[in-house]
């Protein structure tokens, strides 16, 4: 029993899909998420369930065997996955994001090679941008790709790669021209198969949250890939391609924020009606009513902002402003709601007996990943000023 989380989905079929995914989350994910999370164990059975439903093909075009569903539907699905466990929506994020980049910008050969395989999680994807000395300033990457005959030779180190050990193909941002100005014109994206000689999967990071899915280092030591591995076939377009794909990623992370915040609220409003203090359920205390009211207002706003950004993306226009607004707000309020859930639950939330501590540990990831909140603010400001020319 829960609120109708699909109520704000405008497309009825998408609404039915989101409702069905929500049922699966309640029955299959919620009862075992904390066990997988505490063990930092990859949730293979849950991935199988997601695959059986067809979630991995959610954004792959029908001609390649996918479902080609809307971003609105995808956002709703990610909200529901994150309501159960944020990591599940993270696992599918890079998969969808790389599939989107290939479908939008890849050569026909690349689409034919990869997209049919992405419908199932047998070949999963990873996106590799960040480096030890290049995070928010993505154009400062030092990984290079040098042309050598019909091949490119890649050298460098990458960090914080989701799916880093289990992916079958990696979308890797490199510099093919280190002197180019502006810098982004020297950036090229490559599709690197996992078995490429010289491509090394490094250590898995221990993290505060976002567990169950591996986040790793990668290294390239004279890793040789054919020129056909360049996304879209042209040098110097990688930054635009990946930034465009990151709009999809920001919708995903915004949806994750909504899902985690909703889970925190759902647990809190139930607990507040059970737990008594000073002779009455704590819900009767005005302080808790105000806290819960503020939580649901924020969550509703974040949900609508995220679906709005997704629908903008569905319309085919650039949505970096809308995705940035949604991502900034939804992830910030996810942190606030997770902390509010701790306050409402009190001491028990600080233990691993309840999932509230998991929400509290998962939430900070989202204000950092896929562009920090500060980066979102600069993206928003730079876009909105264009609407106010003087």
């Amino acid at each position: 029993m829960a609120r109708d989380f699909a109520a704000d989905i405008q497309d009825p079929i998408a609404g039915e899909i989101v409702t069905n995914v929500g049922v699966w989350v309640d029955k299959e994910v919620k009862p075992q998420a904390s066990e997988f999370e505490h063990a930092d164990q990859f949730p293979e059975p849950l991935l199988q369930g997601m695959s059986d439903m067809g979630l991995f093909g959610i954004k792959i075009p029908e001609q390649y065997g996918g479902l080609d569903l809307s971003f609105e539907c995808y956002a709703g699905v990610c909200m529901e996955l994150a309501r159960g466990w944020m990591s599940l929506a993270g696992i599918i994020n890079t998969h969808v994001l790389v599939g989107y980049a290939i479908n939008e910008y890849g050569t026909q050969e690349q689409k034919d090679m990869y997209l049919p395989k992405f419908v199932k999680p047998d070949m999963r994807c990873a996106l590799s941008i960040t480096e030890p000395d290049a995070g928010s300033d993505a154009q400062a990457i030092k990984t290079t790709a040098r042309r050598d005959g019909d091949d490119y030779v890649i050298n460098g180190q990458k960090m914080w790669v989701t799916n880093g050990h289990r992916a079958g193909v990696y979308l890797v941002m490199t510099k093919t021209d280190t002197t180019a100005q502006p810098r982004h014109k020297g950036i090229t994206a490559f599709l690197v198969p996992h078995e490429t000689p010289g491509f090394i999967k490094g250590k898995k990071f221990e993290k505060l949250g976002y567990k169950g899915v591996e986040t790793t280092e990668l290294a390239f030591e004279d890793a040789r890939v054919p020129a056909t591995a360049v996304l879209g076939g042209n040098e110097g377009r990688g930054f635009q391609h990946i930034m465009s794909a990151l709009e999809v990623g920001r919708i995903n992370v915004a949806a994750r924020g909504v899902g985690v915040a909703q889970a925190a609220f759902d647990d809190s409003i139930r607990y507040a009606q059970h737990r008594e203090a000073f002779g009455v359920p704590i819900f009767q205390h005005q302080a808790q009513q105000i806290r819960l009211a503020e939580m649901i207002v924020k969550i509703r706003a974040a949900r609508l902002l995220t679906l709005d950004a997704a629908r903008k993306k569905d319309s085919g226009v650039r949505s970096d402003l809308d995705a940035g607004i949604a991502k900034l707000y939804a992830t910030e309020i996810a942190n606030e709601c997770a902390l509010d859930a701790m306050r409402i639950h009190g001491g028990v939330a600080y233990s691993k007996e309840l999932p509230v501590e998991r929400y509290y540990r998962d939430a900070p990831l989202m204000i950092i990943a896929e562009g920090t909140s500060d980066i979102q603010k600069t993206v928003i400001a730079r876009n909105i000023v264009k609407e106010y020319p003087i």
Partner: protein
């Protein structure tokens, strides 16, 4: 094998007790605010049984029938999304307050109108009223054998082998076809709808049949509802006094004996 599955939309059984209200004057359950009705939890198992039998048989058609208001389409759509082929909604204002026997009559008429059914499957009971008599009622009207509370159903030549759940074990019976089988939760977990099937189900047209379409007159209720109310539960707490655990236990035993509980 052509199979008909009867499904019902009911108030969510997970509705918290505090949200469950009845209108004693109208003798109706008041729908809980903000809590959508759901498919009767036993019915997806009946659909699952139909899908497995169809797969094992290598063909046929699964038709889903539901009797209820327009929202009962969602129960039909769920079965279609699981893989059923066609859906029929029996909906008519005349059916708004009918009893189990009238329900059985309407379902029987719809089953005959669909026609050519080898097997009719239902959940073992609807979780709202929990009476479990409709399968027997439909069987009586159609003159078909009825096997209840099935945990396993296999095609066996021209008939079925059905394993039933008993209070203290299991019972295996054979039944000729056509037959009616009610499916228990012990049958196993129903499959989750695949996204592609949800999309396909959304495009399928659900036929709507009225009482006139079925050529039936619901008539007077055979089992009219006399009263509907929520029991008032009163509880008291009494602290058993005593200076020692032994004395407290002795006092407790005396209280229980006085209350004729031991």
């Amino acid at each position: 094998m052509n199979i008909i599955v009867c499904v019902k939309q009911i108030p969510d059984p997970e509705t918290p007790a505090a949200s469950f209200k009845v209108d004693e004057a109208a003798k109706k359950v008041i729908p809980a605010q903000g809590i959508a009705p759901v498919v009767n939890p036993y019915d997806p198992q009946a659909t699952e049984a139909a899908l497995r039998l169809k797969d094992a048989d290598g063909g046929g058609k699964i038709t889903v029938i539901s009797l209820g208001p327009d929202t009962a389409r969602d129960a039909i759509k769920h079965a279609l999304a699981m893989g059923a082929d066609e859906g029929v909604l029996i909906s008519d204002p005349a059916f708004a307050s009918i009893d189990n026997f009238q329900t059985a009559a309407a379902l029987a008429a719809a089953i005959e109108k669909v026609g050519d059914a080898d097997l009719i499957l239902m959940g073992r009971a609807a979780a709202d009223w929990d009476m479990g008599v409709v399968p027997a009622g439909v069987g009586q009207i159609l003159g078909l054998p009825v096997v209840t509370v099935a945990k396993g159903i296999e095609k066996d030549g021209d008939g079925l082998t059905v394993t039933r759940v008993l209070d203290d074990g299991f019972q295996t019976v054979k039944a000729p076809l056509p037959a009616i089988v009610s499916v228990s939760n012990e049958f196993g977990e129903p499959r989750y709808p695949q996204l592609r099937q949800i999309m396909m189900a959304a495009k399928k047209t659900v036929q709507v049949w009225s009482a006139a379409d079925l050529g039936i007159d619901t008539g007077a209720s055979v089992m009219p509802l006399e009263a509907l109310y929520q029991p008032k539960v009163e509880s008291n707490v009494e602290i058993i006094e005593g200076d020692t655990p032994e004395e407290k236990a002795r006092n407790l035993a005396q209280k229980l004996r006085a209350a004729k509980l031991v």
